[in-house]
Symmetry: C2
Subunit: 205 residues, 2 copies
């Protein structure tokens, strides 16, 4: 979304969880990784900062230094509150969509952190209820304005939307109720930049 | 803090929970209420917006429209995530500090919402643990920058800080660990504007 916001295109390369060596040049083992010329970048926030510095004449991802400072809070909330709450709901759906070579690694590493995936699936209704409490600040904000950043989206929106996109791509579970302002906001972002996000492949059809 | 940020002074009037009629001109029953000339205002966010519009030449409470939009998210997070988590920890301490005329009203109305205050006190350790998870986005953000708004505080900081000040004024419980970046941030805001917040009276000495 940050690339699309800047009107930039990057080639997307399929990648498997166990292919750590293919992204070793980034100095770590997790995606997303962006390669621009000789520069390897990782971590969504750093990538967004890099794009903002490298392409300053294109549409801004941050509303100046003050906007960037507050976007960091939104980004931290997405990482530490929203992502764990979404994970508990959807992670049991992931192994089915994985390549055979990834499945054992994925289940083992995630169960070490989160406990049994089957237990998470059994308690899905409770985890979905918990998620709907976690998104209260999002709901309250989006009752009063179309985007977190105001009248148009910026990186603060994309940092949060990315978590919902991750869920959309790997799970058939509907996280949001149709009358939730967060649902309407997600629809607007699915349509943004020529429907870029809506066109993304989904593992469950 | 918003008034101090603007370099303005308002006379503070003691008020009791059951004195609803004294603030009836605000059109509702809750504090804070600010009276400026013939204008009655309530709700911290609306008061801050009013101050920003009415005193535009004084230091800005919001970093432009983009900053204000994101501050609304921070404010919503403070209201819907932080305040309930702090409430569960400190509310059992409140009745002791209340005027006799308020105590029965307070306990009855809060127990209707939250259940037995004694049960909350018995489970205080768990509620403190839960609070320390809720403040993760704050901790992550303040590891990287001195204030939510960046190098200097603005209304986004005050909206969150206000919840900690409420706790400080009515409970002796220390909510934050000394090595938490949120603790250092709270200290900076206690010292801000000539130590305005640090000078506030505390119910428990």
């Amino acid at each position: 979304m940050a690339l699309a916001h800047k009107g930039l295109h990057a080639e997307g390369l399929p990648w498997r969880f166990i292919e750590k060596s293919r992204i070793a040049a980034s100095g770590q083992e997790r995606v997303p990784v962006l390669v621009h010329g000789d520069t390897w970048l990782h971590d969504s926030w750093r990538i967004a900062r890099y794009l903002e510095d490298t392409f300053p004449d294109r549409p801004a991802l941050f509303a100046g230094p003050g906007g960037e400072a507050l976007a960091r809070f939104v980004n931290s909330w997405a990482d530490t509150a929203l992502a764990p709450a979404i994970t508990k709901v959807i992670i049991p759906d992931i192994p089915d969509g994985l390549h055979d070579g990834d499945r054992a690694y994925f289940v083992e590493s995630r169960e070490q952190r989160l406990g049994s995936l089957q237990a998470l699936r059994d308690d899905r209704v409770q985890h979905l209820d918990a998620l709907r409490k976690v998104i209260l600040p999002l709901r309250h904000t989006l009752r009063d304005q179309p985007y977190l950043a105001g009248d148009t989206p910026d990186y603060a929106d994309y940092a949060v939307f990315g978590m919902f996109m991750w869920a959309r791509c790997i799970s058939p579970v509907e996280l949001l109720q149709a009358d939730d302002p967060v649902h309407a906001w997600r629809e607007r972002l699915l349509d943004a930049h020529g429907g870029h996000a809506r066109a993304a492949r989904r593992a469950h059809g």
